[in-house]
């Protein structure tokens, strides 16, 4: 069987999005919001399992966004941090740290625990990378709280988060490293990318080789609404460094690449023997639902470059990394996921797997 896994996020139901707005405005209580969250999580898991997915997530229904979930409610952040501009012109701002010490308010194992109440198949848990959170520290510095102190705190928080997820039975913990390509856009000399890789490895090196078999890294050009933030950055600049990360599983956006064989050749050249590559076979930004046959062809194409024992499939990105993204429907997301699952199975059969 060729393993197939989602990236993580699913569009939130409208009632949950409206409920969050109502809670922020003080119109509903925390317990009312919790009811909406649990309902969304339960429904998401049911629909995930109905697609035949062997590995599922909770659709990140409880997360504000894939990047800010650990920070919700922290009082030492301002909203006007680094901007992330997207191709369609909209901009998301990262928060900006205004004082130390830094601690997560919520770590991802909390979401895993909730999801485990409803799931009947193995669960995967996504966590944000240390490098993404490094961008919260202001460039001008913070009096009394050095960048080293901040990075040390972030690395420690992530280690604890991943360790708890593994201990609580996550099938795999996926580190979302979508700022990889963005870093090349910001710094074409690759200095920033190399710094990001080194920083992420500081956290990953705290895990044993055995533990790292259940740790993965996701990279993509950052999907939000119907746009991305760094799709124009060539993989040739990223991939040689990406595989220096001390992780076993890599979830790589590929379906929306213009020249997939070229990227696959680079993956074959730079990926290490012990690394498993999950290639993106579904494009969440494309509103058209790929057919299982199309997915099968993409898998077979990838199999020409990546040994079968190291090949897996995934989606290019989550379907709603930011919680307020209503540009895609849940129906579309699950239909695409079903296509991935069925298409991957068709490819496995064509390749001679039972």
């Amino acid at each position: 069987m060729i393993p197939t896994e989602p990236i993580g996020s699913i569009p939130r139901p409208a009632e949950l999005i409206h409920g969050i707005e109502a809670f922020s405005a003080g119109r509903i209580s925390r317990s009312d919001l919790d009811v909406l969250h649990h309902s969304a999580i339960r429904n998401t898991i049911e629909r995930f399992e109905a697609t035949g997915s062997p590995i599922i997530t909770d659709g990140e229904q409880g997360k504000e966004s894939f990047i800010t979930y650990p920070l919700q409610g922290l009082e030492n952040l301002a909203p006007d941090g680094m901007p992330i501009p997207f191709a369609d012109g909209h901009i998301r701002h990262l928060p900006r740290l205004i004082g130390g010490p830094f601690r997560y308010r919520t770590s991802a194992d909390v979401y895993l625990e909730t999801a485990q109440r409803y799931a009947h198949v193995p669960l995967k848990q996504a966590v944000i990378s240390v490098s993404a959170l490094s961008l919260l520290y202001p460039q001008g510095g913070l009096a009394g709280y050095s960048r080293e102190d901040y990075l040390s705190a972030v690395v420690a928080e992530q280690e604890g988060e991943i360790r708890r997820c593994l201990q609580k039975g996550a099938h795999v913990v996926q580190v979302d490293f979508t700022e990889a390509r963005l870093s090349i856009k910001l710094d074409p000399t690759l200095g920033l990318l190399e710094g990001f890789i080194d920083l992420n490895n500081l956290a990953l090196e705290r895990f044993s080789a055995e533990e790292r078999k259940r740790i993965g890294v996701h990279t993509c050009p950052g999907a939000d609404r119907v746009s991305t933030h760094s799709a124009e950055i060539d993989y040739a600049a990223l991939l040689p460094n990406l595989f220096e990360l001390n992780a076993t599983n890599f979830y790589i956006q590929l379906a929306s690449e213009r020249d997939r064989p070229r990227v696959l050749k680079m993956i074959r050249e730079y990926a290490k023997d012990e690394q498993r590559i999950f290639v993106g076979v579904i494009d969440p930004v494309d509103p058209r639902i790929e057919t299982p046959e199309e997915v099968r062809e993409r898998v077979l194409e990838a199999a020409e470059y990546i040994p079968l024992e190291r090949l897996g499939t995934t989606d290019d990105c989550g379907f709603a990394p930011f919680g307020d993204d209503m540009s895609r429907s849940r129906d579309t997301a699950f239909d695409k996921i079903r296509s991935r699952v069925v298409g991957t199975a068709l490819a496995a059969k064509a390749l001679g797997f039972e």
């Binding site: 501009p85 191709a87 202001p138 460039q139 901040y150 040390s152 710094d187 920033l192 500081l202 799709a231």
Partner: protein, 450 residues
């Protein structure tokens, strides 16, 4: 100069003055700004705060299907103009500026064919002329820095962009480019230096943890070793008194079995058994104290008396091994200040080792020689010499190690204990080959004279 010309000249000077002040504010801001987005937005706001520029926006090129130039910062009036006009690489001054890396301007939007597709929208917004400046600069080495974007300025009047104005604006765009490139470089540098510091801290911490772990393991191993040494020492040292007790017990039995029994000899044997029993107890205490490093009672000891006492204890063994004993004891040696029992242990060990070393000798008479002499003004030398087979050169340096032995049933503790005792008295114990045969052990002990 006619008044009208004078007025025009004054207006031109005022405009230049205002532009200079605006550009100075921009430069001032760029020198202090700490983030790229703040730099881009701030420059647009400063430029549009005066009455010269109505719209300022900065865009970066997207390598998308539409090859758009995406606005990332904007300020001024009629901002919806940017949503109504598509800016791409192939359309308008921004695209041309980015492609050619040269300023591109239109002095009359309403009539210039280059603005044909968007003139009406621009005119509605109140723009008369515009300029697009590529975000490029040259570093100190002359290398081109190209951010892949443009600074775009719109003015209400027509015919504003003369050569001087274009140059002024291009210089401003160059300053902005330098500032952004520097900020991006700083981000990478700041992160890299932070990560390096953190990695160094982690390595130090791991090294300290490894050291603590090694120290703990060493301490644990040392305790185990010490326990083994204590057990082996006690077993070794108690062996001699026990052997003596058994020997004397057998002797007493033989004397009793004679007809008539020799009660005097029986009593002597029983007395020796009692003495050896006490000695065994003292030996155990001595070994225990040695490892506890507890202070033992010291007394003034005559070296030669010590030697003679030990020879007396070991007489049965000497006779059993059929060894000739020679003594060369210097008279009137200064007394030692030492633990008598411990020194007796040492001498007894050395003598027993010497006797056993001569067991294998069959072609000459076995001779045990004990000597005492002054080593120097503050110490005494005692030597125990045998005429045995000697010690292999390769073993010589290991004979004082714990658990090292050349004997088939040896425990390897005797000489280690001896050295430990002598060194605890401030002395030394060494060995060397004797000539022509055997080994000589040298015991140097400080005298008790201050």
């Amino acid at each position: 100069m006619p008044n009208e010309e004078h007025e025009l000249a004054r207006e031109r000077l005022d405009r230049l003055d205002r532009r200079l002040r605006t550009f100075c504010r921009c430069s001032d801001m760029l020198l202090q700004i700490e983030s790229e987005q703040d730099a881009l937005q701030s420059i647009c706001e400063i430029l549009t705060e005066g009455d010269e520029f109505r719209l300022a926006w900065i865009g970066y090129c997207e390598d998308s299907a539409g090859r758009t130039i995406r606005p990332v910062a904007k300020a001024g009036s009629s901002l919806d103009f940017l949503e109504r006009v598509e800016n791409s690489w192939g359309n308008g001054p921004p695209g041309l500026a980015v492609r050619t890396r040269r300023p591109c301007w239109i002095n009359d939007i309403s009539t210039d064919p280059a603005a044909a597709g968007w003139a009406a929208v621009a005119t509605d917004a109140g723009y008369g002329s515009c300029i697009a400046l590529p975000l490029i600069a040259h570093d100190r080495g002359g290398r081109l820095i190209d951010l892949g974007g443009s600074l775009n300025l719109y003015i209400g009047e027509r015919g504003v962009f003369d050569d001087r104005t274009v140059d002024h604006c291009a210089d401003l765009a160059s300053c902005l480019t330098h500032a952004v490139a520097a900020l991006r470089g700083h981000l990478a540098e700041d992160l890299t230096s932070g990560v390096k510091s953190l990695r160094a801290s982690e390595q130090r911490k791991r090294a300290e943890e490894a050291l603590q772990k090694a120290q703990a393991e060493l301490a644990s191993a040392s305790r185990l070793t010490m326990m083994a040494q204590i057990a082996a020492s006690i077993a070794h040292e108690i062996n001699q008194p026990l052997t003596a007790i058994v020997t004397n017990g057998n002797a007493a039995s033989k004397w009793l079995a004679k007809n008539p029994p020799n009660l005097e000899e029986v009593q002597a044997s029983l007395n020796r058994m009692v003495l050896e029993g006490h000695r065994a107890n003292e030996v155990i205490e001595s070994v225990r104290a040695m490892f506890k490093q507890a202070p033992r009672e010291k007394s003034r000891i005559d070296t030669n008396d010590l030697i003679r006492e030990v020879l007396t204890f070991t007489t049965p063994e000497i006779q059993r091994h059929r060894v000739m004993v020679k003594t060369e004891l210097m008279e009137k040696l200064p007394p030692l200040l030492a633990d008598r029992i411990q020194l007796q242990q040492v001498m007894r060990n050395l003598i027993m080792n010497a006797l056993e070393a001569m067991d294998a000798v069959t072609d000459r008479a076995p001779v045990l020689t004990l000597k005492s002499t002054a080593h120097d003004s503050e110490s005494v030398l005692i030597t125990v010499e045998d005429s045995g087979t000697g010690i292999e050169p390769k073993d010589m340096r290991r004979i004082f190690d714990s658990f090292f032995t050349t004997k088939p049933r040896g425990m390897g503790m005797g000489l280690a204990i001896c050295r430990s005792i002598i060194e605890s008295h401030g002395g030394s114990l060494s060995a060397s080959p004797s000539h022509p045969h055997g080994t000589v052990f040298r015991v140097i002990l400080p005298t008790g004279i201050d």
